[in-house]
């Protein structure tokens, strides 16, 4: 039976990366399609008419939307390899709770860090961001992964944000390693997995995007100028970047 898997995605999206990691964990072959977020394709608009956002997983022509829902779907369809969620209902509820926490707290505070001009707003965003990371560090405890002994759902939900850490640190002038050393150890541990390292773009690419956005919005490039690549931004990168505010 043909198993056609297509992923509509955008390189810098930490949500899209979740789907990439999950597919890689399961060893699923798929077609990756980069979306032009400033000029969204007909397929994306048809497959996700409600939110019009990436990622969208299209399995044998049928769309699945919202990154955590996609990861659960992947886990349920390809259930014979690398289980991502635990089998015990209480542990599953805990995993879903913490993945949701990443969406509610980490994303929002992180976004405020790289989009604000500075001053009190930036300090408040940094405080919220660091607090949320410290909570997650506490949840990790002394286990190698959020999933316990094995890499799992919450690891996938959160590790994709690590490509954005350098951008957050540069905009906010702080070090995540100083604040949450165990988390950075966990990131390095995850990056030893091919499913993760091959799915996540270079953090410097994220810094490039953020620097360009900030320049265009007069937010101030500052320290990020060190990361501006000298390669002329082609339309792909520009559009990918504008779209970052609304994956």
């Amino acid at each position: 039976m043909a198993n056609e898997v297509v992923l509509l995605d955008a390189l810098a999206s930490m949500f899209g990366m979740r789907a990439r990691v999950a597919l890689a964990e399961k060893g699923i072959e798929y077609e990756y399609r980069e979306e032009d977020l400033m000029n969204k394709g007909e397929l994306l608009l048809k497959m996700n008419p409600v939110h019009k956002k990436i990622p969208v997983l299209i399995h044998n022509g049928k769309p699945v939307c919202e990154s955590l829902i996609i990861v659960q779907y992947i886990d349920e369809v390809w259930k014979d390899k690398a289980p991502l969620l635990p089998s015990d209902p209480y542990q599953r509820a805990q995993a879903r709770f913490w993945a949701d926490y990443v969406d509610k707290k980490v994303y929002d505070a992180g976004r405020r860090i790289w989009t604000t001009k500075g001053g009190e707003e930036l300090e408040a965003a940094k405080k919220d961001f660091i607090e949320s990371l410290k909570v997650l560090e506490g949840v990790l405890g002394n286990e190698p992964y959020f999933g316990g002994k094995t890499f799992g759902f919450v690891d996938i939900a959160f590790v994709t944000f690590s490509t954005w850490f350098l951008a957050y640190e540069t905009c906010g002038n702080f070090s995540i390693e100083v604040e949450c050393p165990k988390l950075i150890e966990w990131v390095k541990r995850c990056m030893e997995k091919e499913s993760v390292s091959k799915s996540l773009p270079d953090p410097h690419k994220i810094c490039d995007f953020v620097a360009t956005w900030r320049k265009k919005h007069g937010v101030g490039v500052g320290r990020l100028s060190a990361y501006m690549s000298t390669v002329t931004l082609d339309r792909f990168e520009c559009v990918c970047f504008w779209g970052l505010l609304s994956f």
């Binding site: 409600v50 399995h59 049928k62 699945v64 939307c65 919202e66 829902i69 996609i70 659960q72 779907y73 349920e76 369809v77 209902p89 209480y90 599953r92 509820a93 879903r96 709770f97 949701d100 926490y101 909570v135």
Partner: protein
């Protein structure tokens, strides 16, 4: 075998708490409901069981807490599998989760923006809310329930929010049924179920509650 102890920390007007109430009733699970005083002072048990958000509902199963209403409904479904609330196939489940997530993101905030605003903002809020309800009608299509022929996960996530619709109508000066007749037909269908009828508060009481909320927010 130890006795199952199920406690639900809730609040009568909260549609989120009522999701859990309905799910437990659908499964025939005996539980102790404890009403939290959200304005007077949250209980130590609530603050200890949900330190992150300090909100209701919290389900305590043999002392272990589960938080966030949609998560609680999933947990109830997985722990007491009969009758199932989610469809058996992964695609059906993903679709159900998608609409549950849509409802979570849009409906309550969208509706509440009506009683929180005035003048032009109110018109914008009403228009936005009607669009959301129309999208939900689209999701249901010609089916009796969001789940198809039988009452299920998405119906449980959605129906408690409807007890606030009367308040939105009063503040919005509109009759929602005129705009979304299919949704109202679905609401009535759901209210014929004991699990729903016994749980959902009287919309008049919710309206009075919202009047007080507005005062507390310093509106008007």
């Amino acid at each position: 075998m130890s006795k199952e102890e199920v406690v639900l920390l809730g609040f009568w007007a909260s549609p989120f708490c009522n999701r859990a109430n309905i799910a437990l009733a659908e499964k025939g699970v005996a539980f102790e409901g404890r009403e939290e005083d959200l304005f007077g002072g949250k209980s130590d048990l609530l603050l200890k069981s949900n330190p992150i958000y300090q909100k209701v509902p919290v389900l305590l199963h043999n002392g272990k807490p589960v938080c966030e209403s949609t998560n609680i409904v999933s947990y109830i479904d997985e722990t007491w599998p009969s009758p199932p609330l989610l469809p058996p196939c992964p695609y059906g489940r993903a679709t159900a989760r998608f609409w549950a997530d849509f409802i979570d993101k849009k409906v309550f905030d969208g509706g509440n923006s009506i009683w929180k605003s005035k003048g032009e903002q109110l018109e914008v809020a009403k228009k936005g809310f009607l669009e959301i309800l129309k999208q939900l009608e689209g999701a249901m299509g010609e089916k009796d329930y969001f789940g198809g022929d039988s009452f299920g996960f998405v119906d449980i996530i959605a129906v408690p929010l409807t007890s606030w619709f009367y308040a939105y109508e009063k503040f919005g000066g509109c009759k929602l049924e005129d705009y979304c007749p299919k949704l109202y037909a679905w609401m009535k269908r759901c209210l014929e179920r004991e699990s729903v009828a016994k749980v959902l508060p009287d919309p008049e009481k919710v309206y009075e509650f919202v009047i007080n909320l507005r005062k507390m927010h310093g509106i008007e």
